[in-house]
Symmetry: D4
């Protein structure tokens, strides 16, 4: 209930068109609904620019299905992350239009109505091992209507390959840099582009890699200033960080 | 050597005004100069939107002075971080117009010519202990011409104070959330605003705080999606991450 | 042997009804029996308010059955934690009245005779992933006769849902807050209620979550004062901590 | 604004006694004031049973003085923790009735009006090294009107001393167990008493003690069920956890 | 070649009974043979009081069989640790007299000829979960002819059970204390007995147990002085540490 | 485009055979091609002395096959590491001349044409558990034409065995020391030989071994100066470090 | 009260010489006195073979003096560890016969009356940096009457020095091996001697030494079986572990 | 004593020129001297190509002086690392020709007689903060006669500076890469040069840098193959690793 509606209600009471009791009834739910309004902004999509996604790890297919159904009902589209192939097969029987990608383990129904035609996010990684995380970021962005430029196989130990993609990198609105092992790729990229760089450590590697901690620490301690880091293997989080940034710009 | 200069050179050769040998001599240095151009974009400010800052920790006053002088010569302004009071006093004798802030330990000479009149960054923290890091972020942004909204004393254990500042938070283009201890502030903020949230863990706390690691881990594992995390106590890095985002928008 | 029994014995010796040798024999075991009395208080239920529970992880069904049988014999009821479904099926054949809950992995035979009608423990968690741990706490409490109020789906990134349950939270004698990822829920709750808050970190999450350490550290470093923390995934321990508190109050 | 006030206001509008514009003005602030009421409960003392304490570490004497003054103005008493002797001397000049304890580093002005005559908290520790943390807990409780029983020099490597205090331990409403090194004291106590046991690890020790982490881990992994653990060296937090529990009981 | 042999050789040369060339030939190999003597002491059993045992983890049955065979050939007996049931079945076909214990996962062929009739080692643990490690220690000792006293189910949270076994504990030459979780058992035992206490942390526990690190840290930081700690789950190492001590005494 | 080509182009322009516009077009792409030349040195084999190897962990057989095929096409030989037996069987159907070694999990097609007849690398390890890592190093070196001397079963707890191999160790150009557990072997070797010692920690061990971290830390902190350490279980990396050193010498 | 005293008392009652009431009074205190006897064994020296030592770190000179005085009164001698020079000077004014050693930071008054003439403990270390810890062990042993053989400068990177001391090492009843950095010395010694080896990691080193953790981990994971490890820098603990072992043998 | 000397001795005995007793006396010391020969190679310089250096941290000036004096007596030159300015001043009074470098904290007397005229080691680092460690490496090499090429200010976030030094990097026999923060420099260099790359992590940085662990982990997990890593801040160790490699080549 916004201010003009409230003024209208009071005018009705003043004019004798609305008895105080009925006005009271309508106002009684006001504080909480208002608080709801203040806090919830009707729904999360308005609040954060993205509908809640379903994190399927540790959920049963039934739980995931229920959660997706609720989101589809509310928003007309839905996304689940970390979906295993068996669960995807099970979901597919329920959502005829659902799409599963085995690499990124994303399952999506429909697509958000937003679009960012003038933007472009470069999702960069060093090799095939980092691809699942990179694809989680890329396809989440595409689900939200953001054009993605994939740049693969550009590890810092082979600078010539990285530098040969420099023009594409500089053309991007935002760079998402996905790297395991020592996680040096965002440092190098951060020195080459002025755009926001979102660094995603992956758990790729072995030994003292510590399940991605070495890459995470490398990115947090980068000598390139202004990098933004997300959790290990969190391609989805990187995509949402990018979306928060793109929502600062006027959409098409 | 840009394209028109190169065309001019070739025209001179074609016109017989420049012998091939002399042209060759001038072109011989081209690849590296060009590579310099491709890679360096003349200077870091263009490349990253911010002149190199001087990290004064572990430097002598003389080293810091030299570095600042070079930056002032190149850009007309300069910033040093982690400057101890004694060093600031020493610098002040050399830079009459320099300004030192004891809280953030920033020393700055002049100010960048950039300005972001329509933008606003909210720098949010829980209490006085986090203020030095928050001020490092705030004043770095102000040095770059970005309006800053400071919101202090809004820890998550006192939600009513945080919620009473909701309108200001929602008005911000970007939110920088500075927190020590359990580092929960960015999680709560991430759920309340759609803007980019840059999370800065601080080393405030004791015991199992582990010099800020508990806050860092909390932020990386946030249940609010799309947070961007920087290193512990790295207010400067948060400011630069914000600048990278703001540079996506047309400046005034 | 209490004082009156001892006086009786000495009177018998004095009256010549009991020869010193036989009295000596009965006194010889006194110090240890007495020590036993001092230390053991007859049995653990009196000492700690709860019969020993069987931790089934790493035990064979036979070992678990033996342990449960001994407890049933002593107390008329018994509880086992971390019971896998196969073991539960095996136990069920032996305890016709036993009840297994697959979510919490608790297996219980009977129920304690205690009851706490005027008390209420709110068991709060953020989502479906934390439910197994929350249920371990809830059902352990119910086994002990404590009324439980379950409050689910109230993560800190969606404050409006949490705040809409505020009245229920404030009505609780004790709040058990179960959270994974950054573990911020107890901090927020600690600021909203005056009751004891028992914080249970869960291993829910991935990457830098470190199997629940990030949530554990977050809770230990909470900016809300007076939180009591238990081990990762230790819903049973949280329930017993609550029981220790409730036993401070006069039972019904 | 409660329901009857709201009904009154609407009746005034209906009766023409209050113009809609003025009614609107009074209702405009309603949602936030209501939210304030819902969330803030007037002040933190009501919400959490204890006024905010000042954590003096890293604060200037002036900052600490300001914070204490505000609390004294609001509650008639105030407490600061981690106060160094120099700061205490400075504070003493401003608060003639202030009291400083060098061992616990607590500085207090006045005393809370609450009292818990029938309760008793046993604060137990192994030796002189743990005393500062134990005293922080004890004196915070005394500031809040809780009777404290101090039991010192009862390390687990000298069980006879601990067992000789068993009666006192069993008489306590709550036991706070303070221990460094391996932190085994709460495990042993947890098996001896039915009361709530709040375990406080201290940073006392050296080598692989890891600044208290060994004691903290020991307490979290205790084989005694239902222990409640607080952060390393956090005597204040232990006292507040105890207060939350005592507030469950009817005060005198 | 000892001194008298060397003197004899020189006398032979001096007496013309041995030509210098033949003497040289015999001396040529001296340094290495001597070094071998100095270093190797013929074989490891003399050097360390125990034949090399086979660590079967990660070995194939064939590799384990070969290693055991070589030891049997050299010493008439052999021991393998961490033997899985399948491997034991395979070994059994080759060693008709071999004995496998599924709890400790020890496989032994024969028995050492040493005996320590007047010694006794108490192997103490808290519960059934620690039994495999305790049995690895007990049976290794028995293989070496050392009488073992097993004391089980004496966790520190139930002191009365531990104290009721005090006489047996004090009768032991050496106490091996096996404990998981917080690892407090050796601290309590170290205060009750004057004998050497060998502390064995186990990986029993969960959550912040960190695969036995919490118990290990607890034992290293014990407030009881003079504890000797071995690696996590290393019952075999504890037995060998005990054997080194027992070899200080005259054997029967 | 090398200097003579450039001179030819300028001569053409000077002679009027090439219009400036067309020359410009050809020069426009020069900087990048040149940068490619400067950075890439045609291919990685020239740059680093070894063709890229395929890290098969986490790759599908098809991905591994494609990568190997590309390398074979470019260099006439290829090597894959961490190849599981099933994948090896699959590869074998595609590469009739491929060779798989189950111990080291290396799969190789052909062999490099390089040879180092006068060099010798000693690959030393303590026991059978370290063999897979040692073999990964040995066979990678042999693939590159380097003679390898394998020295096994020389753990530091049996010095006499190690010292009996001293001559072979001192004859080696480079020593690769592979060790798990405490990782002391390289320290002892570093004191015995003047050659480069490359230390490879393995994850062999249990308990506080921490998956090889204890060996890694031991090697990094060695009291023998000048050891070069590689990642845990990284036999391939050790071989490449040795190759970098051998390439300093004139090849045969 | 022993059995014969108890029998006498009962005979007195039976004979009418002692009224039951008085007998009761004397028996009333029996259980606790007996329990005291059972648990305390009169004093710690009997229980653990060594009087309690004063850990002076973090104590005031007055506290240390009081503790030492009590020990001197009870045992005629006393030992304090980690005594800083200033405190030693202060203590010296109170104990004219006290002796301070600046290297080990031990302060001792008198000497225990025990002696172990036929025993010998070799205290071995690699260099001057480990000497303070080695001396803490050596002088604690000498305080208890144990002959000590010091062997210094025998790091594993210089095996010839270590091997030249082999006879002395093999003559020792017990070997205490003190080492920082990678902590490999006990592994090598464990393979050379059959005696008990007590391993003491020191915090000597830098970088990835982690304040002694690398040496500690190395010792726990030693490939030499049967090592007994104590806490980092804990020379005193090593001495007491040795004393526990020596007390197994008949004293002179 | 070599073979011909031994033959001569035996001939003397045979000829009656040397009595067997005197021969025995000379042979008595043979085994150990021989062992000394086998193990020690006369002295460490021959064994490891470098005289022992004095690690001055934690030593008194007197201890450092004594150690240096012994080395000068043996080798005519000596080097001490980690020398504080006060100690250097003290040493200077004893060694008139000694030279101290405040940056690297190296103190040297004289210079080794070795020289490597055709070799060149590039010591590369990113900035002024890494210079002390880089200089420790550089000056240790120069002390040993190795020409050093210093390349500074080439962090990976400013690739153009690094690439502009490519020719110098490729001309080096060995590259020592010194880096703090994320430690990415060796990864990039490892991809650009074929020479051995010795990676030295430094403790430069803050926050999650963990005193150099982030750089260390980055280097160990490098995607560039064949890097050799030394301990944090261990410039001296890097120089000795380089010397071991250079000693593989024929010296001038």
């Amino acid at each position: 209930m916004n201010e003009s509606q409230l003024r209208g209600l009071l005018n009705q009471v003043s004019a004798g068109e609305l008895p105080p009791d009925q006005a009271l009834e309508r106002l009684r739910t006001l504080p909480f609904a208002e608080a709801g309004h203040v806090l919830a902004d009707t729904h999360r999509m308005i609040r954060q620019g993205f509908p809640e996604a379903v994190y399927a790890e540790g959920k049963t297919p039934a739980q995931t299905f229920d959660a997706l159904s609720a989101l589809v009902a509310a928003h007309g589209c839905a996304l689940a992350t970390r979906v295993r192939p068996e669960m995807a097969a099970s979901l597919q029987q329920r959502f005829p239009t659902g799409v599963y990608d085995g690499g990124s383990r994303l399952y999506r129904v429909g697509k958000m109505s937003s679009s960012f035609p003038s933007a472009s996010v470069a999702v960069v990684c060093a090799g095939t091992s980092d691809l699942p995380v990179a694809e989680e970021a890329s396809q989440t962005l595409e689900f939200a209507g953001v054009p993605v430029k994939r740049i693969t196989d550009v590890g810092v130990a082979g600078l010539h390959r990285l530098l040969s993609r420099l023009e594409e990198l500089r053309a991007a609105s935002i760079v998402i840099a996905v790297a395991g092992m020592e996680g040096a790729l965002p440092s190098v990229l951060g020195g080459l582009v002025a755009a926001p760089v979102i660094a995603v450590p992956t758990s790729v590697g072995y030994g003292a890699n510590l399940h991605g901690l070495s890459a995470l620490l490398g990115m947090l301690n980068s000598c390139a200033s202004g990098l933004a880091v997300v959790n290990i293997d969190n391609g989805f989080g990187a995509a949402l960080a990018a979306l928060r940034m793109l929502n600062m710009q006027p959409k098409a």
